[in-house]
Symmetry: C2
Subunit: 493 residues, 2 copies
């Protein structure tokens, strides 16, 4: 077992295999018996729970309430918003029957007499069913804004799936808000993008760029899509969260009008915004190394792992005593710890296991440490060790947790900085993609045609148009037409 | 609007209609566009969130971790456990296709080329997929016990649905644990029944009986089902939570063995246990009255509603100031309050609305209260009012919240006590059911045959066999055969 733990694929050699190995071996998730659906294991789920709790608090602080809408959506609902149907109704799980029966051959079979009149789609996203519902909830300007979020599972029948990054079923939250004016809706969409940015940077230790999507990359049914984009260690971008200004598209599709203060009927303005278990993929890919996960302390289920080193019961008893004094203080400080006193495993095995699982701080204590009143303290982020006096161990741990959180962020930011390039010609652009992938700032003529051609030839896409534009006269790297600012390209997940 | 709020159906006249009205009018939930599926509205969902948080804490304190398993279950899995298939695979949502396409007639249609090789069932409960997964997780006695819980949505294609009580899709938690011995598994199943009992009584203010189900009423695949049963105000019983000892049935069906300490292979022992959004139905039906909901303070999203009464801006400003002083102190005490300062509604409307929504305490403040430094304080549970000095208002509220919590429980307990009867003949039994429904303690000969006949003739079922048996020689009310103790009968939801 100890050997197996260290046998991750090398990150530099095969990033994709390294990622899959890591997710499974660190007990985060695994593939299930159902194609494309994953099992999120307890260790992985406990990280997701921390993410949920922090995000949920932020949503409530910004005035949102949670609610729950049906898992199923009548097929006809998808036809109501023209562009939405193309984007979402294609690869979907379709419920056609509502009963099984015993089969003559043994086993069970679908009962052909129990066919639904109208097929139901397992929700890939909930705009349609929610706007159908909002029609009855919104009558007057007094009912606005309506600020609702839903935590739910959704299904998109992806052909190529990867744990957390792209799975047929995934967990997410979807905010769906309704507003009296275009300005209010636009402000909401931007606000939620910033909530995601704050969460990514300050909790996930993940630096993100903020901006808008090109028309081509927008959410199906949106008039503007705001996004946060992060750079992974292989130089590919990962879209980490999106927030959409939906205009009046869904209000018109589902006939949702309100009486304004002047007693006139108007269509309602909408937004939707979401992040998913994909965040888990971003967290793993941005920070981990060949020894395993590297978790930012704020999201680590275990922040401090304590390993005893002893040769006999007498030594262990003394160590237990010292550990008990420590853990009592850790509890008081709300520091999440675990004492790994399994007698079935040797310390070396435990060290490797908790490294693999990304625990930020490891404390070891042996007979000498007991006598000297010290601890051996090791950092997961940079793998350094030092010996610290028991007198200052608690404050040392507190400071170190903060330092590690900051260091992980800084490391990811440095990586992004050194992997962000400017390209002024298409040749340069292609060379960067091949030799040193990352974000590429380049001029673009603003047309979908050019965007598609660049994608065809290089697989790179426009990740975003920066929120703060730096005006600069230039020429499109592909068409040579004039351009007023650079946009951000990259290959992506 | 103010009028509409009061127009609930009379609880005594039409209990069923009163319940439906109440759920919808108090903004807890409503029917959706999908048959049998409900929309849980923000106010209802915030109560469910409180329930979840408390239960989740209790599960973790008893050593359980959360995880997540797929929404879909391959059809063949259901055939693996013989009795389980009968109980669950019948009325289920079946996914047969994974793609839609544009229809020639316009709109979209199911793509016949995208038929699944094996149909997928939307989980009605997850024993099968989870035990299929456990096979790879459990190798040795060191992997046991495995204590896992899942918060999820499930679907059972019920023909007759009622908001919260019986819906096609509902939200729930399902615990699934694996143990090395029969004793451990049995102890776990009992422990979780007591966790549910504690939650029902001390948070929902709902007195419950604990016991086991008769063989006939057991969960499909269980060897023993523990349950908590509550009595509603119409004298019908509601099964509020169940905890199952599953023996080695699922371990055998999915071949889950472990090496014991003697290095011998054994099948694993299992439990599963769950409560659902049905708890919301129990909460509503047990306490509410013709004015609306009556929420126990521990689960009320708003514990104190504050309503200002004023004729002009000057009065309002003074009142606002006093309210601000109060709410600051309420926040410090973690008391959940809301200041209803809408100028679009009159105090009478607000009073009725918050009564309907079951807020435990209402504070009103007018110009006289401001001058006298007093508050008018009204209790939702018994609809009494008094005037309280501002000096002691905080401690008064604290005490009152506790008193209301206890009073609601006591009221429900008194109701149950006065609606629990003994019947010694079948005539007596039938008369009670017709004239004063409630729990009926009666002798039963222990056979499924008798149980089914009683159900056929009276619609009453055995709700439970009490956990603590009171031995008493008697004769079965139906067959006249000898019996050693009474069991609990009732009509039920």
């Amino acid at each position: 077992m100890a050997k197996e733990i260290k046998e991750l694929n090398d990150r530099e050699e095969n990033y994709s295999q390294w990622y899959n190995d890591l997710v499974v071996k660190s007990d985060l998730a695994e593939n299930s018996a159902v194609r494309g659906c994953m099992v999120i294991k307890p260790y992985g789920y406990s990280i997701w729970e921390k993410m949920q709790a922090i995000l949920d608090k932020k949503f409530k602080e910004t005035g949102h309430s949670n609610a729950y809408f049906p898992l199923f959506i009548p097929k006809s609902f998808f036809s109501k918003e023209a562009s939405h149907v193309d984007g979402f109704a294609k690869e979907a799980a379709v419920v056609t029957h509502y009963r099984l029966r015993a089969s003559e051959k043994g086993g069970i079979e679908v009962d052909p007499n129990a066919k639904l009149e109208e097929e139901l789609i397992v929700r890939p996203t909930s705009e349609t069913i929610i706007w159908h519902t909002y029609k009855n909830w919104i009558k007057s300007y007094r009912d606005l804004p309506l600020l609702i979020n839903q935590w739910a599972n959704v299904v998109r029948w992806e052909m190529r799936t990867r744990l957390f990054l792209r799975t047929a079923e995934f967990l997410w939250q979807e905010g769906h808000t309704a507003h009296a004016t275009k300005e209010d809706a636009m402000a909401e969409a931007k606000k939620m993008m910033h909530v995601y940015e704050d969460f990514a940077q300050n909790y996930m230790a993940l630096p993100v760029l903020t901006g808008t999507k090109s028309e081509h990359e927008r959410f199906a049914g949106a008039e503007e899509t705001f996004c946060i984009e992060a750079l992974m260690q292989d130089g590919k971008a990962l879209q980490t969260g999106t927030s959409h200004f939906l205009g009046q598209n869904f209000a018109k599709a589902f006939d949702v009008k309100f009486l304004n203060k002047e007693n006139k009927e108007e269509y309602v303005w909408a937004t939707s915004w979401g992040v998913s278990t994909r965040l888990m993929g971003a967290l793993i890919m941005a920070h981990s190394d060949n020894n395993g996960l590297v978790l930012p302390p704020k999201l680590a289920p275990i922040q401090v792992i304590i390993v005893p080193i002893y040769k006999n019961e007498e030594q262990l008893e003394k160590i237990n005593q010292r550990v008990e004094e420590l853990t009592e203080k850790l509890s008081q400080k709300d520091i999440r710890y675990k004492y790994d006193n399994r007698d079935s495993q040797r310390p070396g095995f435990k060290f490797a296991e908790w490294e693999l699982k990304g625990v930020p701080i490891r404390l070891a204590i042996g007979p000498n440490d007991y006598e000297n009143k010290t601890w051996e303290i090791a950092r997961r982020d940079n793998l350094t060790k030092e010996t610290i006096s028991n007198d200052i161990i608690i404050s040392h741990i507190e400071n170190l947790l903060e330092e590690i959180q900051n260091n992980i962020f800084q490391k990811a930011l440095d990586f992004r900085t050194t992997h962000t390039y400017k390209a002024d010609t298409f040749e340069e652009f292609k060379e960067i993609l091949e030799t040193k992938p990352g974000f590429i700032l380049a001029h673009w003529d603003g047309t979908t045609e050019t965007e598609e051609k660049i994608k065809e030839e290089t697989k790179a896409t426009i990740r975003l148009i920066p929120l703060t534009l730096i005006l600069e006269e230039g020429k499109c790297i592909y068409s040579g037409k004039p351009s007023k600012f650079r946009v951000v390209f990259a290959k992506s997940y």
